[in-house]
């Protein structure tokens, strides 16, 4: 029967072959050494799109353009993918990119499950991965690799930035509102340690499930604790809902809120009315100095938004990677890894920044306070610098790292 044959082809080709052929026609063939290919693997469609997403891709593209589009005469190409906040999807995409699409470096990597999984693939495949928008400190400890760089910030810098500065400022007793996820609990533990070391006291904690909308119960618990500082160990919608509830129930401003992982974008969506007075550690703020303003202005023109620390980190780290290739005169991963760790980073994002053997990029962090609406003089004028935390203090001391590349045992 003639219809049968065409049907066979149809079914088989659409199940396994057809769709595969389609995509590969669009991507380039195999690994070639005459292209430096950068993959931006990020959350393009989910809850973290605002933190990295398309703007992260744009930041990397900007860096490539500013670099001149080629390194040592070799063209640079940028591709992108969506990890959907699933570690397996991220790992599979990374593997495919390294394995059969000749990607030399993967950037951004929001979501700590994805970052860890991709770091594992990068280590195995001996290709570069640069993590900008995840806080997981495991990346420079148990899961470290010569090919993995943790660039913008991490849980340690957040904890030590915010925690230490606030205790020194007189905030002695703490209560935590912690998201019941590894990163939340990790942050809570780190900050608790910092607080105790600095002579402060942790009076309690409430651990809420992810995606809690109603924080009123926790607001009362925080109030009843009588703590001076309410540490908020969550991010995104959870942190925003928590901060809102604290304000609504009049817990703040009497008890001060300290956001342990708040993004610039979260402040935009909170609004200054609610967010004023919040303390937060961020590695970058667009309005810090002329250089950051220059970059941010250009970024704004392309994306319609101000860059957050991950976007700035995406740009800076891509630049550094390309500089390393240029200096090494090769895109050989080992040579590039070595050069990346030798070259110092001096740009609008970091001054005197350097990468440790465990992959940690060490640079200054900043403690900011959110301005009151009356203090905000122009659009996006949100933060006031409280103090600069030197990179050596902000990041985990090298001797504490459990990274196997160090001789710490």
């Amino acid at each position: 029967m003639p219809a049968t044959n065409s049907l066979k082809t149809l079914v088989v080709s659409s199940t396994v072959l057809g769709l595969g052929g389609l995509s590969h026609a669009m991507a380039s063939e195999g690994y070639t050494d005459d292209v430096v290919r950068i993959g931006v693997l990020t959350d393009m469609s989910g809850i973290y799109t605002d933190l990295s997403g398309e703007a992260a891709l744009e930041a990397v593209r900007m860096a490539v353009e500013d670099f001149g589009g080629e390194v040592n005469g070799v063209p640079i190409e940028v591709i992108h993918g969506d990890h959907r906040n699933r570690a397996d999807t991220g790992a599979s995409r990374a593997r495919e990119w390294y394995d059969s699409e000749g990607v030399d470096m993967i950037n951004d990597l929001s979501n700590s499950g994805v970052a860890l999984a991709v770091a594992a693939v990068a280590d195995e495949q001996k290709r570069h991965a640069i993590v900008n928008s995840s806080s997981n400190i495991g990346l420079t400890n148990d899961y470290c690799s010569p090919y993995v760089t943790h660039y913008t910030y991490d849980a340690h810098s957040l904890a030590h930035g915010t925690g230490k500065s606030i205790v020194e400022d007189g905030g002695d007793t703490w209560f935590f509102l912690t998201v019941d996820f590894a990163f939340g609990i990790g942050l809570e533990e780190q900050v608790s340690e910092v607080v105790r070391e600095a002579g402060g006291q942790v009076v309690g904690a409430a651990r809420h499930p992810l995606d809690t909308t109603d924080f009123s119960s926790y607001a009362l618990q925080a109030q009843a604790s009588g703590a001076e500082i309410i540490g908020i160990a969550s991010t995104g919608a959870d942190a925003i809902n928590a901060i809102n509830a604290l304000a609504e129930f009049g817990v703040t401003p009497e008890q001060r809120p300290a956001a342990l992982l708040l993004w610039y974008d979260d402040i935009v969506s909170l609004g200054l009315e609610t967010a004023q007075g919040l303390m937060l550690t961020n590695a970058f703020y667009w309005d810090a100095n002329d250089e950051t303003r220059e970059f941010s202005q250009r970024f704004y023109e392309r994306t319609g938004r101000m860059p957050n620390m991950a976007h700035a980190g995406n740009y800076s780290s891509t630049m550094h990677y390309l500089n390393a290739i240029e200096a090494a005169g090769s895109d050989d991963p080992d040579a590039v890894s070595e050069t990346m760790r030798e070259l110092e980073i001096n740009d609008f994002f970091a001054s005197g920044g350097y990468i440790r053997p465990n992959g940690r990029m060490v640079h200054d962090q900043y403690l900011w306070e959110v301005k009151a609406p009356a203090e905000s003089e122009y659009d996006y004028d949100f933060l006031r610098l409280v103090t600069t935390i030197p990179g050596e203090e902000a990041f985990q001391p090298l001797e504490e790292s459990t990274c196997h590349l160090l001789d710490n045992d």
Binding site: G46, D180, A206, P209, D214, S216, Y218, L220, A237, I240
Partner: protein, 295 residues
């Protein structure tokens, strides 16, 4: 006096907050129960309509300068109209089929709505001011309740009771109930059943959107604000007993309280407790707390 180490005053406060939270559940599960009762469809898009309500209110306020009270009236209507259009164009093609197809179609709608709003407005959400009139606090003796939360309880309960009254005590409700039980016979009496069905879907969706507008000033307005809510609301309706209007309302409030108390005693479990309750109820009382035993 303490109960399990918690002062009784604090416990009363937590109970009160549980009722606030339960008010949202009541309005949402009421809408879901009505839709299931008449259309026999599990409306997976209920959380998305909740989000749509909040976002419509935000857009009305942001771009048309509408005040809170106007948005509270207009946004649910607008979303209800959208829901009715969706029912009229797509959902009704699936009647008479296995309900799982309705579930799948409404799930697809969730993807389109949530994805679309994320493209248009980003993922991190928008601030929404509490109306001027309701900004103060209310001293209840055992706690200080923000005025707006009090307003949530009152308006949610009034709306629930009004809906219950219309369905159980008016001629319109009578024909609705008739259409649920014997659709063809009702049609034979000259009642336009398809129109009634569309209207019912609109009411259910409108209730979800109303809850969304109520939530806008206190919960964060963002495209995924309804996505984790939807299965909790399912559970509430099933615990209450499918098809029982009063069951949905009472269970909504009750589970709000149970969840609130869990936040005090075993906070990590607070988003899971509903499901534990559901398993126990279904195994002990197959038709739910307020449902009629099946024949």
């Amino acid at each position: 006096m303490d109960i399990f180490g918690i002062p009784i005053q604090a416990l009363l406060g937590q109970l009160m907050l549980g009722i606030v939270n339960g008010s949202f559940y009541a309005v949402l599960s009421l809408g879901l129960a009505i839709i299931f009762g008449v259309l026999k469809i599990v409306n997976f898009a209920h959380g998305a309509f909740f989000m749509l309500g909040a976002f419509t209110a935000f857009l009305l306020a942001q771009y048309m300068g509408a005040g809170y009270w106007l948005t509270l009236a207009v946004a649910p209507l607008a979303v209800a109209l959208f829901g009715m259009l969706f029912e009229f164009l797509f959902l009704r093609r699936l009647y008479g089929l296995d309900p799982i197809y309705g579930l799948l179609l409404t799930f697809s709608l969730v993807l389109v709505l949530e994805g679309g709003f994320r493209v248009a407005f980003g993922s991190s959400g928008q601030p929404f001011a509490t109306p001027e009139l309701l900004r103060g606090t209310l001293n209840l003796g055992f706690m200080v309740l923000p005025l707006y939360r009090g307003f949530v309880i009152v308006s949610a309960l009034l709306l629930c009771l009004a809906t219950w009254f219309i369905i159980e005590r008016t001629p319109l409700g009578a024909s609705l109930r008739a259409a649920t039980e014997r659709s063809e016979l009702t049609q034979a009496f000259g009642i336009n059943v398809p129109r009634l069905v569309t209207l019912t879907y609109g009411v259910g969706v409108g209730l979800a959107a109303f809850a969304g507008v109520l939530a806008a000033p206190i919960f964060h307005v963002n495209p995924s604000m309804g996505s984790s809510l939807v299965i909790i609301i399912f559970a509430v309706v099933v615990i209450g007993g499918l098809g029982s209007i009063m069951g949905a309302i009472v269970t909504g409030l009750g589970l709000g309280v149970v969840e609130g108390l869990t936040r005090v005693f075993y906070s990590e479990f607070s988003s899971t407790i509903v499901f534990l309750v559901m398993v126990l109820v279904l195994l002990l009382r197959p038709a739910g707390l307020f449902g009629r035993e099946e024949g």
